[in-house]
């Protein structure tokens, strides 16, 4: 009996060792919500995403960690020019990123563009060049049972492309 239980403990420990060797990082990332894979999964499994940074909706927020599909590998960023801001190539969150590096003089006037694949998302951005902007997102989702309306303060974000 002692031998058997010791062997069982050994096997369990070995499993633990192997998990910590190869799986710990991804597990930790998943738990903390910083995992890109889980981000993609959440986007694929749920047709809704929210633009808000409210902590209550943090589980949905990771859906923005995605590759903008309409930008090619050498593509000019959405802000590189005066008239590309409305194409929605910047970020799927449809927030201020579309025009984040563009000075006020060259900024695009329309930002209410990008639409997710299944969800119907409408964002209204007050001022693209202010330090803090307010995004009001009304999310009418096919997957979710209730609509969510939240207003949060977000900071202007710039991409170091």
């Amino acid at each position: 009996m002692t031998n058997r239980s010791t062997k069982l403990i050994l096997i369990a420990l070995l499993t633990l060792a192997m998990t910590s060797l190869f799986g710990c990082k991804s597990l930790r990332d998943r738990l903390s919500g910083n995992d890109n894979n889980s981000d993609n999964t959440s986007m694929a499994s749920s047709s809704t995403y929210s633009d808000n940074s409210s902590s209550a909706l943090s589980s949905n927020s990771s859906s923005t960690a995605s590759t903008p599909s309409s930008t090619d590998i050498y593509g000019t960023p959405a802000n590189a020019g005066s008239n590309t801001g409305a194409t929605g190539t910047g970020n799927m969150t449809n927030n201020t990123n579309n025009n984040m590096n563009t000075p006020a003089t060259t900024g695009s006037t329309s930002l209410n563009t990008t639409n997710g694949s299944m969800s119907s998302t409408t964002s209204s951005t007050t001022d693209i060049n202010t330090a803090a902007t307010t995004d009001t997102t009304v999310n009418t989702s096919m997957a979710s049972s209730s609509d969510t309306t939240t207003t949060t303060t977000k900071h202007r974000r710039m991409r170091k492309e």
């Binding site: 923005t64 960690a65 970020n91 710039m158």
Partner: protein, 332 residues
Amino acid sequence: MGGQARVPVLHRRTMKRLIALLLFAAATSAFALDSSSLHLLNQAWPDVKSMRVSEIGRGVGVVFSPDLSVPGNCRFYQSLGFACFQDASWEDVLEQIHTHNVLFPEHRIATLVLETHGTNGNGLKLQESYDPAARRSYISVGALQERLEPEGIYFVIISACNSGRLLRPDIYNALDPNNGDKLFLPATAGIVNASEGFDAVHSPVLIITPSSSHIETTLVGNVKELSAAARRAVAASAKAQWIAPPTEFAISDMMVQMLTRDAHLQLAANKYVDQLSRVIQPQDTSERNFARFVTYVNAVAARQSAPAPATKTAHKKSKRAPAKTSPKSPAG
């Protein structure tokens, strides 16, 4: 009988040792990944618990691309103790770094953080804007090593998009101006390459990048978002340096992660990546980082503004039990 009894005892001991070894291996391997990045960061930027807001960035310089900055941004970083450089010309920035280390030997910088563009990993770019005619320059990683070594800067931390690609052997010393990348706009202020004979292998300057390529981001914040104590400390530091108090600042995710020693930060030294990545962290992650930065600065300011408790405690104790007290100098 005695011999038979000894066998299980020995067996148990061996098993116990094995279990202990396995437990040790499990614990070690769990932390091995993070410790390498942390060790690297601690080498470049020692984890000293700052007691004053004006000492947060001591020994560290930051280079900002003008279009990734905001008015008064450098004044904010200077208030935190950083040396800050912001220009669209790499030649001018290198000259400013040289001047800084010559003129302020007590505030010499040994580590440089680059808050610049990565141009899809085709060159470190400084620019005024995306206007093709705007002032703009590029530098290769080899050139950075060659030019920064004489200044005594031995650590360069690149916080730019796809920074791992900048270390590719074919563009390490000399950038390819005809790479076909639309982001590689005209170099109106020149391209800085390493000299032909430069051998990066023997350079003591360590180039540190995020271990995985992705799009780095920066948030714009307002000093008003800091606590009253932090604002006072920032203003006092600015006043001491004869600079106007800042109102706005730009802070990158990577800078916050370094300052707060975030366990998620994965760094690599002198390691190149081929693949171009378009992965970008969600805005909420940046917002969380921003909040952590505010908390961090507020905490340092709170330490700074807190009255020295050691003196009071020693005084009280000395009244009650004079024999047991040992005089302590106040912290900070």
